[in-house]
């Protein structure tokens, strides 16, 4: 198949970027989206052009490194799928495809389609953990946890930190990400000791990074490759208000 790509090119953080158009000829529908970009980059390089930079690592949909807003949708047109797991058979011969980086003041573009997502790391460092000296491996089921609570925690914990929720949100809010990180401990006994401190500190860091507020558009849920539900945002909101009004002083 033959495609026309409009790709965002930007030299570095300080230089303003612009779109450049590339013809992608003879692309196999069995390629993944990133393989297609590999091919286009290799051909550009063979012509003496600078190849286009984009993030990726596992290419198995588990690490959260790949990104790209494809025709206005983070991770492209297929629901519950990372860009690395998206295949060219989802597109038609002759399609125009616009490829942009995640856009948020808290995710500055480093080069071309690569953005700096370390804001997520700083939010995690504020409370996305349990402070326990673990010692030896505890026995399985030593602490009973109901199936229902375990499932809610596991669903939240499946967030891979890709940032598509921020990219999709018209306010560039990271509440789905923070909600997932708060919710995964909220449903476990081990998460209780630091519960108030965690939600207060993580939301504070979210705000300090310059992410927007949640307008409950639910665009994040629609693009999340791990199908994290906005119920984690409701849970975080309730926990934040409880902690801020009557909880402990963080």
């Amino acid at each position: 198949m033959n495609l026309t790509l409009k790709i965002w090119r930007q030299k570095d953080k300080a230089t303003p970027g612009k779109f450049e158009t590339y013809d992608a000829k003879d692309i196999s529908p069995d390629m993944s989206f990133l393989e297609m970009l590999d091919v286009v980059s290799e051909r550009a390089q063979a012509n003496g052009q600078e190849p286009c930079a984009f993030d990726h690592d596992c290419r198995e949909g588990i690490c959260g490194m790949c990104s790209l807003v494809i025709n206005g949708v983070p991770h492209g047109p297929e629901a519950a799928t990372t860009t690395c797991q998206l295949h060219m058979r989802k597109f038609k011969d002759g399609d125009n495809i616009v490829i942009e980086p995640w856009r948020a003041s808290a995710f500055p573009v480093l080069r071309d389609l690569v953005v700096d997502r370390s804001a997520f790391d700083r939010i995690q460092q504020k409370g996305g953990f349990v402070s326990i000296n673990t010692g030896g491996t505890p026995d399985g089921n030593a602490i009973p946890i109901s199936k229902k609570e375990a499932d809610l925690a596991m669903d939240a914990a499946s967030c891979i930190g890709c940032g598509a929720c921020v990219a999709a949100c018209k306010n560039a809010s990271a509440m789905l990400f923070v909600g997932a990180k708060v919710s995964q401990y909220m449903h476990l006994p081990q998460g209780q000791a630091e519960r108030s401190r965690r939600v207060l500190a993580m939301v504070e860091q979210h705000d300090a990074e310059g992410f927007g507020a949640c307008s409950n558009f639910q665009e994040c849920e629609a693009v999340c490759p791990k199908e994290i539900s906005v119920r984690v945002i409701a849970e975080m909101n309730r926990d934040y208000l409880r902690a801020a009004l009557v909880g402990t002083d963080a």
Binding site: W8, Q192, D207, D249
Partner: protein
């Protein structure tokens, strides 16, 4: 639910700075003020429906409201304060949201967001103008009062002479421009609340997984009910059912 490690409660200063200074605090203020305004709106709508009972009923009700004295002023003050709180937090949040995405996408797409959610700023802004007009119209009698001067006072069955608010409504809404303007105004309020009701419940964390599907339907249904209840009065006057 409780923290295992007990720590001192936050002081009042800390509580205020968190509610005022954080995204979640600002949104909570917007949601709480919005819900209080919704409660008032339902009462207001129910009051207007007495237009269908007749002049005696409606004027008795209007006179009762007018004679509340101090309570009336307390409610007015409260409504203004709630509206200011709502608008202030809306502006704060909107400015932050704008700054969070300084470079727009070339291919900007909405995926699932409802029409109501996408138009909150526009619908809220127009509703503000509508409320302003409504107050200048029926409360201060400053605008849209053509024909009011010919309306004599109304004599209640108990002999009391009161303002004929019933007749003012009829005279006003016999003007199609005013009737349609009011229907449009409450229509935009309905649009605002088609998202606002469920959004505020989500903001306050009421929508846990069990209740969410129910509230997601309840919100737009309540907004539609409120719109219908408000719009039916000018409509009924316009088509001559109330005269």
């Amino acid at each position: 639910m409780e923290d295992a490690v007990s720590q001192p409660s936050p002081g009042i200063g800390k509580v205020i700075s968190r509610m005022h200074g954080s995204t979640l605090g600002q949104k909570a203020l917007m949601a709480v003020s919005g819900i209080a305004l919704i409660a008032f709106s339902f009462g207001h709508m129910a009051g207007h429906l007495q237009m269908f009972v007749g002049a005696e009923q409606y004027n008795t009700y209007a006179h009762f409201l007018q004679s509340m004295g101090g309570i009336k002023w307390a409610i007015r003050f409260g409504l203004v304060a709630l509206t200011c709180l709502h608008i202030f937090s809306a502006i704060q949040v909107s400015m932050r949201n704008r700054a969070a995405r300084p470079i727009a996408y070339a291919s900007n797409k909405w995926i699932v967001a409802s029409l109501g959610s996408r138009t909150m700023r526009a619908s809220g802004g127009i509703v503000l103008f509508f409320i302003g007009y409504h107050i200048l119209h029926f409360t201060t009698l400053t605008v849209g009062t053509a024909g009011f001067e010919k309306i004599p006072e109304y004599k209640l069955i108990n002999g009391l002479l009161v303002d004929d608010v019933y007749r003012r409504m009829v005279v006003s809404f016999q003007n199609p421009l005013l009737a349609l303007g009011y229907i449009g105004g409450v229509g935009l309020l309905g649009l605002h609340l088609s998202h606002g009701i469920q959004s505020s419940l989500q903001t306050l964390g009421v929508l846990n997984s069990a209740y969410r599907p129910f509230f997601k339907k309840l919100g737009p249904a309540l907004a539609g009910f409120l719109f219908a209840g408000f719009a039916i009065v000018p409509l009924a006057v316009l088509v001559g059912i109330i005269k």
